[in-house]
Symmetry: C2
Subunit: 343 residues, 2 copies
Amino acid sequence: MAHIAVVAGDGIGPEVVAQARKVLDAVVPGIEATEYDLGAARYHRTGEVLPGSVLDELAGHDAILLGAVGDPTVPPGVLERGLLLKLRFAFDQYVNLRPSRLWPGVAGPLAAVKPGEVDLVVVREGTEGLYAGAGGALHRDTPAEVATEESLNTRHGVERVIRDAFARAGRRERRKVTLVHKTNVLTHAGSLWARAFAAVAAEHPDVTTEYQHIDAAAMFLVTNPSRYDVVVTDNLFGDILTDIAAAVTGGIGLAASGCINPEGRYPSMFEPVHGSAPDIAGQGVADPVAAVLSAALLLDQLGHADAAARVTAAVGTELAGRTPGTPLRTEEVGDRLAAYAVA
Amino acid sequence: MAHIAVVAGDGIGPEVVAQARKVLDAVVPGIEATEYDLGAARYHRTGEVLPGSVLDELAGHDAILLGAVGDPTVPPGVLERGLLLKLRFAFDQYVNLRPSRLWPGVAGPLAAVKPGEVDLVVVREGTEGLYAGAGGALHRDTPAEVATEESLNTRHGVERVIRDAFARAGRRERRKVTLVHKTNVLTHAGSLWARAFAAVAAEHPDVTTEYQHIDAAAMFLVTNPSRYDVVVTDNLFGDILTDIAAAVTGGIGLAASGCINPEGRYPSMFEPVHGSAPDIAGQGVADPVAAVLSAALLLDQLGHADAAARVTAAVGTELAGRTPGTPLRTEEVGDRLAAYAVA
Ligand SMILES: CC(C)[C@H](C(=O)O)[C@@H](O)C(=O)O
Ligand SMILES: CC(C)[C@H](C(=O)O)[C@@H](O)C(=O)O
């Protein structure tokens, strides 16, 4: 039986993760879970972000379920670089998978887009680009200061994530992949992405392809999100596009993500896109849907495709049944989702 | 009297620029204009993008009015790096100014946002960041290829554009500046931007400030664009945010921009955000509003604030009078705008 690591984290993290685990237990009884105390709370208490021994222990699990980490008093970058990105890089999670659907029952912000009309997935590169941590500063705190950030892109890293995107597109109905980059300005990295994309596309004559600059794609996600099926892009562009995609499909409160090492050499990590939301933490009012959808991605990755589909369908039932304006209770939503998923 | 250079460019460029000039002539008679033939057409004909002699001549003008350059057959980067970015860098146009308004009469895509509720301006840095052209590739076209793009940020470059943003905010009603960056991942450049922002903010106690990560800002532009007044950000983030802002306010067909050298040591350049739109070129149906609004920014920069305000008001009259679905004729729109502006 699978053995997962659970990092509930800070703020609403523990509340939503509890519901995700409830649903997991309901659909696939017997998954073992070990909890790890990481995040802002531990950092404040001990100064530790991710001790090496914990990283080693996490490596021994089949997957990681993460709630949310952070609070406004932790300096920027500490938990991001020290925990989240550290895990993505250490576990070679090169596919950062972010599906977006406009669910029936959810009022999106776009007047012309109806529920069911948006169903896309962004395959964001997760181990390279501007997230590599290459950069520095000279003459800091003087008028002569210069600060750099370097985007590193390898054929190895670019091609493998593009392959993953085409494989996913091949399993979907529309079979379309959009490459998003900024080839007209970032000519070196853009050229590498474009050539790798063309090479992989040539092996998939059944998949339709298109290319868009990041600025155009950001715009089209607002004016015509239905046009997208699978979008593949680099780490930073993916960060931005997935938040826009979440916004047009009802907000990050519903958005799930998986940081995936497709070969399974290292554990993949699944987490809601939302943060720890300290303003509503502890009140039992956080929406656990994004965490539960992340658990569905986890099930899929562990080979439980049927169970994953049941959880996703349960979310559909839950959202279709909501009355706009009615306050929700985290636990009740979890109970309903677990019940729908096994019904 | 001012002397401007006009680069009408390709596709719909000449059509919309003709209307912008018509309006300019109406409100400030006697502005001299010299046309320069640059863009895809010249490139195809002669292989030239921006001869040094032309650059020198352009430098002698008070401002540049540009229509649109490019067509799908020019390789990516040639006109962007060789012409548009070349001018921005050569003329030290460090303020890339992009206002966005949801005009009465324009149906934006957001169900909850009413005309008049969005009135923001993005002050995008124009001479640094990932646009610096620093980068390269090794082992090109082999499995070992690595490609880099480097973001270069100086205290000099960052502080001056932030100063411009605060100065603009001080002249606006809401007096608010939002800094957008990604300080939690791009820690070196992010820290420089954040420290420069804090230093300039301290000199402007009358201006409200906030900070957002680029992914959050992209999202809030969709869910709550009314919250923004002045947004200051780096070159690439500004490229993306301004297209989103254009999308939520009715599309790039209405979006104007100025690439400004505030000190006037070099000419500033004004251009619609839209491209050359080869699909509708030559039919007389392109909307000249973005070009005319760009001309208004040009007038403002040349010290004709009153005339600029009249042109902007004329656009308001034009847009409020449009019946959705009625086809427009480029020349007729230009005629009306000129008439409204002098009425
Ligand atoms: C918290 C941050 C490091 C992270 C990112 O930029 O990837 C977040 O925005 C996300 O999208 O998962
Ligand atoms: C054409 C391109 C170089 C340019 C940019 O990226 O700045 C355009 O997208 C813009 O926003 O003016």
